[in-house]
């Protein structure tokens, strides 16, 4: 029989193609599993159907052209203020670095005034002539001439200025400096900073009581506490007369206080709180076993501080941000940025509950999920990510800055209906990366909306807490890590098991963390795209403006890169800092045993963390045992397993730490 040569060749070619294709298919399947599911066999069947190669190879790349093409320009209104004549509403544009001036007669945008980076808050003088805007990433306050709608100057502040309070009687401006944990006191007559007042940890909200006697500062982060002790977050009381701290008190077991407001009679100050359950084993999510949210009530008369829940047994109202008391003192309005809701509370009923607590009729009111039924009047639905809110002078209207829909909604406070909206941005709010940011900030992807990504990662960072998440309670404790600039730093988690963000946020995440339906592939792509391309570090406060190192930092850098110790002995490669922490991200992305495991840990080696802006991430180590960078070497490095450091003098250690503090964004390198 005559065999056609071409047919034989075709068959051989087809066979090769088939085998190669089959091999490629199997490889790609393994590759897919490796980067999305890991090696836990029970999980392997639970992959997310519909994910495509483009997810990782397109959206996830920080410099990926695809993700960058999907960016749009957004304004992100953040905080609000209104002129006393009710004519204009001002809003800071967090992403547009501008201040919006809108006319309230027709809800139209009048002007957009450029200010510094990441504007946070705005306050207006009584004569409506001047507005002050805090620029969180520029370490300044912009002075705005409202008649001319221009920035006329800048006031210097500490690091990360955020909330502000205007003492109109004394012509003073209090500015909470979030990143340097103090308050700048600025004399507005001279424009000079009079002093800095130490205040909490990451102070963000500051307010002055209507009687102009009390200045109250609230903080985002807990003070550094003993290992496995509950968080406690400072409320700083400043005497408005003397401008000195009168008292420091703490809200226990809670943190992330963003704003503060007062009753008209100046007897109560109100703030919003997040109540994490980081010390409670995460054995379940129902009934607030992972996170709850509360209103902090501070009596300015007797100093008592009580937390009242804002949640209900089957529904949680994540990430409360702003609080405003109505002019008649009868109601409080609270924005829940993770739930797209405004809660309205009856303050008369709040006072009744406070009396019951003080009389001992209620123990631990902050954990009673039925209590909010006593004082909750209603909840109003808003657009995405409501942040700053503001009541009109007569209290009849409520303005809500919806950060992730680029608009300000107007509500009638009589019947709680939306009556209008002010559009400040024209960007596509449904665009891929914007949706990702909306998912990140919204709690609807957790069971009963109990928490959002933001709840543990406020400002896209971390909350400074250590959680008990492993299967066996009390083991493998996990210090939350920052999400800033995490692209190209995989794998993730302290045990290095999550090979990609898809795995971190995918099926395993919904199975063990959010405990509800998994993200759809499209939603997950959007979320991951946002996380990898849109989250930056704030400017490093320890770097000089020109990016150059100080002499101490230079000496520290030499120590960081040294190859011999003080005795002239060579340091083994594995014991040199630079080996495991190489630039640009200062991580080799490998697991190492550096002698930090304890008998609570199921493994000895941990994933090397990156060091960019590490000064913002206290406490340190996988379980948060070290409160400061110094402790890494003075307390937890007896055997030089975490780099050779025991030979260093105190000055050398200080220099080394000075250098480590200065390690900023990977863009520097």
């Amino acid at each position: 029989m005559r065999i056609n040569k071409k047919i034989v060749l075709l068959i051989i070619f087809g066979l090769i193609l088939f085998l190669a294709g089959n091999r490629f298919y199997n490889w790609s399947l393994d590759h897919y599993y490796y980067y999305t599911l890991g090696e836990i066999p029970e999980i392997k069947e639970r992959h997310i159907e519909g994910m495509k190669c483009i997810s990782c190879h397109g959206y996830m790349q920080r410099d990926g052209k695809l993700a960058l093409r999907l960016k749009d320009v957004y304004k992100s209104p953040y905080n609000l203020a209104a002129t006393t004549d009710g004519e204009f509403l001002l809003a800071t544009g967090q992403e547009s670095n501008s201040l919006f001036v809108t006319r309230l007669s027709d809800y139209l945008l009048e002007k957009e005034i450029p200010v510094g980076r990441r504007p946070h808050s705005v306050v207006i003088t009584d004569d409506n002539a001047t507005a002050y805007v805090s620029n969180q990433w520029s370490n300044s306050v912009s002075v705005i001439n409202l008649q001319q709608s221009v920035e006329t100057g800048q006031l210097q502040t500490g690091g990360g200025p955020s909330g502000m309070a205007l003492d109109k009687k004394r012509n003073l401006l209090y500015v909470a400096n979030t990143y340097t944990s103090n308050v700048s006191l600025i004399d507005l007559t001279t424009g000079k900073e009079l002093r800095r007042i130490r205040a909490g940890n990451y102070p963000t909200g500051v307010g002055i009581s209507p009687d102009e006697k009390h200045v109250v500062v609230v903080s985002q982060r807990s003070h550094l506490t003993d290992f496995r002790a509950p968080p406690k977050t400072e409320v700083t009381f400043i005497d408005a007369e003397t401008q000195r701290v009168r008292e420091r008190r703490f809200f226990m077991e809670s943190h992330i206080m963003e704003k503060v407001d007062f009753t008209p009679q100046s007897d109560l100050a109100l703030t919003t709180l997040v109540r994490p359950k980081n010390l409670v084993p995460s054995v379940k999510i129902e009934h607030g076993w992972m996170m709850t949210f509360a209103l902090g009530v501070i009596s300015l008369e007797d100093g008592s501080m009580i937390q009242l829940p804002l949640d209900e047994p089957n529904s949680y109202y994540a990430d409360p941000f702003d609080v405003r008391v109505s002019p008649d003192g009868k109601r409080a309005f609270i924005s829940h940025s993770g739930a797209d809701r405004i809660s309205v509370l009856d303050l008369d009923m709040v006072r009744e509950v406070l009396a019951d607590v003080k009389n001992g009729h209620i123990i631990e009111p902050e954990n009673d999920l039925l209590l909010s039924g006593r004082y909750l009047l209603t909840r109003m639905e808003t657009g995405s990510n409501p942040k700053g809110i503001l009541l009109s002078e007569d209290g009849s209207q409520l303005f809500v800055a919806e950060r992730l829909t680029d608009q300000i909604s107007v509500f009638d406070t009589e019947n709680y209906l939306k009556t209008g909206e002010i559009i400040v941005g024209q960007g596509n709010q449904q665009a891929f990366l914007r949706r990702g940011e909306q998912f990140f900030n919204n709690a609807s992807h957790t069971f009963q909306n109990q928490y959002s990504c933001y709840s543990c990662h406020p400002d896209n960072h971390e909350d400074g807490l250590t959680y008990d998440m492993a299967y066996y309670p009390g083991t493998d404790l996990s210090n939350v890590q920052t999400l800033r600039e995490l692209s190209n730093t995989s794998p993730f988690k302290w045990n290095g098991r999550n090979t990609s963000i898809y795995m971190q946020c995918g099926m395993r995440f919904s199975t063990f963390i959010t405990r509800t339906e998994v993200f759809s592939p499209d939603d997950l792509n959007a979320l991951v795209g946002f996380m990898t391309t849109r989250i930056e570090h704030p400017p490093n406060l320890y770097r000089q403006e020109d990016g150059k190192l100080t002499p101490a930092q230079k000496r520290g850098k030499e120590l960081f890169e040294r190859t011999t110790d003080n005795f002239g002995q060579p340091i083994a490669l594995r014991d040199q800092c630079i080996t495991c922490h190489p630039p640009p991200n200062f991580t080799d992305r490998q697991m190492h045993d550096v002698g930090t495991a304890t008998d609570r840990d199921s493994h000895q080696d941990f994933l090397t963390p990156h060091l960019n802006n590490i000064y913002e991430s206290a406490p340190y180590l996988h379980d948060g045992r070290a409160n400061t960078l110094e402790e890494l070497w003075t307390v937890f490095n007896d055997d030089d397993e975490h780099g050779v450091a025991n030979d260093m003098t105190k000055d050398q250690l200080n220099d080394l730490i000075e250098y480590i503090l200065s390690i900023g964004s990977s863009d520097f390198y």
């Binding site: 809670s254 409670v280 379940k284 529904s315 954990n367 009390g474």
Partner: protein
Amino acid sequence: MNMKKILYLLMIVSGASLILYALISLTPKQSTFKEGAVIAVRISHTDTTIPGENFSGLTSGEISQLILLEPNDPSGTYNVITERFYSAISPVVSLDRTSILFSARKSVDSSWQIYKMGANLKEVAEISGTGNDCFDPFFLPDGNAGFSCAWEADLFGRGSALFVHDFRSSETRPVTFHPHMDHSASLLHDGRILYTTKRIYPDKSSAVLNAIRPDGSGNMTFLHPGEYGSIWGKAQESNERELFYLAGTTRGTGVNFLLSVPYENPHRSPNIVYRTNEGHIHSFSLMNEDSFIISYRETVSETLDLFKLSGDEKELQPLLSSERYHYITPVVAGAVSVIPKKLPSSLRHTMSYGIAVIVDPEHSFHYLTQQKEASFLVSITSPGEADSMITPAADGSLYLKLDAGNPVQISRTNSDGVRIGEAEEWLWVMPGERTGFTGWNGCRLISPANRVPLAINEPAVDLTGSGTSLFLTNTGLNVYGRMSYENQ
């Protein structure tokens, strides 16, 4: 091969593709029940027990059939859709309206099993496959099904448990493991199963609504009827997240209520949607947010008829009545459009145990503020076994390792072992489950304080192998012995 041949080949392939595409396109789409269509149960009017009320009527000899009617059809005609069965009850329509589940028996002697029927009313498949009576089916968000099946055990008497059935693997698993009567399950939008349950051992309790994840984890009380007496029938959550249910001080003729509570907080005082002082509301179904179809009769001598209940005044408008038949358990296709969430399962079926952490806010508070240590004991009751007495940690917390599927009662006792307060509900863990609860009382609506429970600083109290399990399978529901998950 020359060019001509290649062209021919291409033409043949293209033609075949076109034919295939046309065939696929012309294939009739899967039929669906019309939105608003009503399926109900029709039963001959006699004095015997009415099927569909728990399973007390399952043993009756009554013939019941499922009927399909169009509520807007003024003629009131309907079709009987289960004529091939001897008797059929408890219909439920799938979320996509393409199929129904119901309980039926093929002859007077056969047991009640669960069947699935397509909307074309032709394809019927049995899914339960047990020897025991099964009833009250429901659809799960992933398209799988669940139902209740009766069991009998010497120690407990007669009860029923919930099961879930996977259509792909044809596997049926029990998901409730307590000596209770579990029935009338529906789905919450959050993805959990909401079911009516009543304790039968060691004492009998009134019926409450429980919620449980479809994998059998996280069982908890969802709603107590409180002053409204007892709950019966299936509760239903509306698109607007209101939960509707029936309750009354007496089941049967008397004061009956159709009540609603918000999902967010079902412990608020319920809203009375409809109240009858003399009649009996047997069952209901949502039509839309504020109108219902209810099965109701005014006196016991009458038949149960179907009524529309709508308008601000909630007036009854007759929909279907007959002197020969009762009409009960109406189901409106597409009444609720929200698709419940698909909850992932964190269970590990290779494990034979799970863990539970119990914290006590009150004692934890006293321990923290006054250094007052817990002065009570905790009794762990396992069916048919002597109680285990455990000393809790100083803050009143407990950390337990329990056999999967083994129901235990955890109670607080004084130092003499005498129980303080009412009996706790039965608790069980699923394989690999981690669970917890707060406090030693029925109301566990207290979020735990953010403190390390002292009990977890020590290894878990190992209670595995110390009790006897209520072992439920899809083939032998009344087996009473040690559970072994590995063997399933």
